[in-house]
């Protein structure tokens, strides 16, 4: 019998392919007419107008991509938060904080993580749309691969806020909250230089460079920020990149995978440092920093000056004990607080807050809400974490 169904559908399918023509249900749609959106206009499907669905799952308000003002929404509205995964401390913290603080602010939060899988994240965002979210906060797995779903969210009149990473290649984004990533890179490099002078005495210094996951749009920014500080020193001979690998693609660590970084460091050490000492390594985050330090220890090298990022617990301990020279704290609480501040503004109908910074995501200029990161070394650790009892615990 199933065969029959198929035969039928085949016929059906073939016919429908032949179907052409325009028209539509403008007159019949029971929902109120709505303004066209950029997103809809770009759709290849010849739907000329996109009206919000009349069902209760989707909000009936008009969506305006410029989003300078909106109608706001009621208390207890659903807020979706889609995070890339929970495999590192900062994302796990973000998950907990969003859940607690959104609930405390009177919203109904749905916080989900996508296990580093793009299709998973696409489907999660769709289910948030389905669940009638008013705002969706997205920390993307890959900032370029959510175009279609985010535009779908836009069509449903939902505000989309990028969290920590830029959302590229889509019109379906209203703003991005992140730490200045170029700035972060600069801070990492400055800390590295300062550490080398302090710990390793007179130059020149032998160093190596590591970049983050190439799929993360922040990673090249970190790297470029750092290089803007380091390049002059390389040029004047203070710093020597012994391996000669100074391109981002050479230095990148796929998926921010610590194991990959460690094996790269292993081969650098065995390949270039059999008769040399390594003095410093630029590391884009704490996990990679620890992998690098472990690798150096295994190779019998004296621990080099290594930078970091995220102030993960283990690295905070390592900084405190002197194994890792520095890390950069991007306090998750600040990022979450800023995001919730924007959500509150949207709720009150005030639209997206104003900002000076924008970034080109390939399709449009996106508003960026930048927060300043903080360098942490053994010297200032106690001040930085004064309000963070969890990390203060570690400084003993």
């Amino acid at each position: 019998m199933k065969k029959k169904i198929i035969a039928v559908l085949m016929a059906a399918a073939m016919m429908s392919v032949c179907v052409t023509g325009c028209g539509g249900r403008e007159g019949a749609a029971e929902s109120a007419p709505a303004p066209a959106t950029e997103a809809a206009a770009e759709e290849a499907a010849p739907a000329e107008e996109a009206a919000p669905a009349a069902e209760e799952a989707a909000p009936a308000e008009a969506a305006d991509t410029s989003a300078s003002a909106g109608e706001g929404f009621e208390d207890g509205a659903t807020i979706g938060v889609s995070l890339p995964w929970l495999g590192t401390q900062n994302w796990k913290e973000a998950e907990t904080m969003f859940k607690e603080q959104l609930a405390a602010a009177g919203y109904n939060p749905i916080v989900q993580a996508a296990d580093q899988k793009v299709p998973q994240q696409q489907q999660q965002i769709e289910s948030m749309i389905e669940n009638g979210a008013k705002v969706i906060v997205v920390g993307p797995v890959d900032g370029t691969q959510l175009g279609a779903v985010l535009e779908q969210a836009k069509d449903a009149g939902i505000y989309v806020i990028g969290y920590d990473r830029l959302l590229e290649n889509t019109t379906g984004v209203d703003g991005v909250v992140q730490f200045g990533s170029v700035k972060t890179g600069e801070l990492q490099a400055q800390a590295l230089l300062e550490g080398l002078e302090k710990v390793k005495g007179e130059g020149p210094y032998n160093i190596e460079l590591f970049g983050g996951g190439p799929a993360d749009p922040n990673a090249p920014n970190f790297f470029n920020g750092a290089m803007s500080v380091l390049q002059p020193k390389i040029d004047d001979g203070t710093l020597v990149v012994v391996s000669g690998q100074t391109d981002f693609t050479q230095c990148a660590t796929v998926d921010w995978d610590n194991a990959k970084a460690q094996s790269r460091m292993d081969s650098l050490l065995s390949g270039f440092y059999s008769d040399k000492e390594i003095h410093g390594v630029l590391s884009p985050n704490d996990g990679i920093a620890r992998a690098i330090i472990t690798s150096c220890e295994n190779a019998g090298q004296e621990i080099p000056v290594v930078s970091g990022l995220d102030a993960e617990n283990e690295s905070v301990e390592w900084v405190w004990s002197g194994r890792q020279y520095s890390t950069v704290a991007k306090p998750t609480d600040a990022l979450v607080a800023k995001t919730i501040e924007i959500i509150n503004s949207l709720k009150d109908g005030k639209g997206m807050p104003a900002t000076d910074v924008t970034a080109d995501n390939g399709v449009k200029d996106v508003d960026i809400y930048e927060l300043p990161p903080v360098v942490v070394t053994k010297d200032n650790a106690k001040e930085v974490f004064a309000n963070d009892p969890g990390r203060m615990e570690l400084l003993k």
Partner: protein, 387 residues
């Protein structure tokens, strides 16, 4: 019971998964407060899983011949990436890029097929190699950076059918037409079959069957057609539907399809019956990678960009669908339709758990149990079915 049998025809056991699917949908719909059975959710369900189901079509045939293809995810990612790069950096028209991607799929499949059929290297090893080669290839050619895809492709990955004609229907008329054609064709086929064998097929059973199926098609037509203006039965769903029909026909109604089952059931007996075993292996592997390329294109269309990690572990989803659909690890057993049901069970489960806000971690655990339960049930019912 006998009556039910007459209406459905044949072995009732093949409907267990269908029943499971219906139950899952119903349960999730209740728990999520009606969010499951909505136009937009079902549109998403189909558009978001089309690529896995396309892979499962090819994987079914691969598993039926007693092999396995671990490379499909990597090939899909590679084909998608080549397409994106061809369009963006070489400035080729989008359709040329698509053809290149399909060509790459066929070439990759020929590569696997060559090692399997000419050199006799087991498919598991051949495609394990392919998996590494093409995964490395994606990262290499993309330099680990996502590449935006041509805008036209979005239609394939997440587009909708056109709106046209009278507005009083209150539906997307393309979808409506699709549904009507479906019902008409079903009635036509049923009556032709009725003429063929009247004894096993009493008229009342035919009529009941037609009504039942018509109601189902009508319901889904309404579900897909009555969404937001501008939406309809999704384009990737339609592509999938056409592929299902083609592959169902190939497996059930052509000499090649029979050869696939013959080779999987008993390779030596097939060879002695005049089946060219090596050619069957070759074509099946080639077809698999071709479909992997199609899946890659659909996915890139939906993601608007090709990423270096695209396709990671897709092969596992495809393989799971095939086995939930009742295929045998030893080969020779399995159908396209059952595989599609298996794939939909996974998709609905995923979707329903997300609607409930269950995290990816626990979703994974639940899916693992479902896979085991489905296969265990299948094995059990086969065992108790014979002495």
């Amino acid at each position: 019971m006998k009556r039910v049998k007459q209406v459905l025809g044949g072995d009732l056991r093949q409907y267990t998964m269908v029943v499971a699917l219906v139950l899952l949908i119903a349960i999730f719909n209740i728990i999520s407060g009606g969010r499951m059975l909505t136009s937009s959710n079902f549109q998403n369900l189909l558009a978001g899983n089309a690529y896995v189901l396309v892979l499962a079509l090819g994987m079914l045939m691969v598993i039926v011949i007693g092999q396995i293809d671990l490379s499909v995810g990597s090939v899909a990612g590679f084909a998608g990436m080549v397409m994106a790069i061809a369009a963006k950096e070489l400035n080729l028209p989008w359709w040329v890029a698509v053809l290149i991607a399909l060509g790459i799929g066929i070439a990759a499949g020929a590569w696997h097929g060559f090692f399997l059929s000419k050199l006799g290297i087991p498919g598991f090893i051949t495609t394990l190699g392919g998996m590494m080669i093409f995964r490395g290839g994606v990262i290499w050619i993309s330099k680990s950076i996502s590449v935006p895809a041509p805008v036209e492709l979005k239609w394939f990955g997440s587009g909708y059918l056109p709106e046209w004609g009278p507005a009083f229907t209150g539906m997307n008329n393309s979808t409506l037409l699709l549904g009507l054609i479906g019902i008409a064709a079903f009635i036509f086929v049923q009556f032709r079959k009725y003429k063929g064998s009247k004894e096993e097929n009493p008229l009342w059973a035919v009529v009941v069957r037609i009504c039942l199926v018509s109601v189902i098609i009508a319901y889904f037509t309404w579900l897909y057609g009555s969404g937001r203006v501008g939406t309809s039965f999704p384009v990737p769903g339609l592509i999938l539907l056409i592929l299902i029909i083609i592959y169902h026909t190939i497996t059930q109604r052509t000499k090649f399809g029979r050869n696939v089952y013959a080779v999987g059931g008993n390779k030596n007996a097939a060879a002695l019956s005049g089946v060219n075993v090596q050619r069957t292996y070759f074509l099946t592997m080639m077809n698999m990678s071709f479909l992997a390329a199609v899946a890659g294109i659909l996915f890139v269309g939906r993601s608007t960009a090709a990423g270096p990690a695209d396709g990671t572990s897709w092969e596992m989803d495809a393989i799971a669908s095939v086995f939930i659909g009742g295929a045998a690890v030893s080969g020779g057993v399995g159908t396209i339709m059952a595989t599609m049901v298996g794939g939909l069970v996974m998709a609905v489960l995923n979707n329903g758990l997300m609607l409930m806000g269950v995290g990816a971690d626990r979703t994974q655990v639940i899916k693992g149990f479902v896979l085991l339960a489905a296969v265990a049930f299948d094995v059990y019912s086969k065992k108790s079915g014979r002495r």
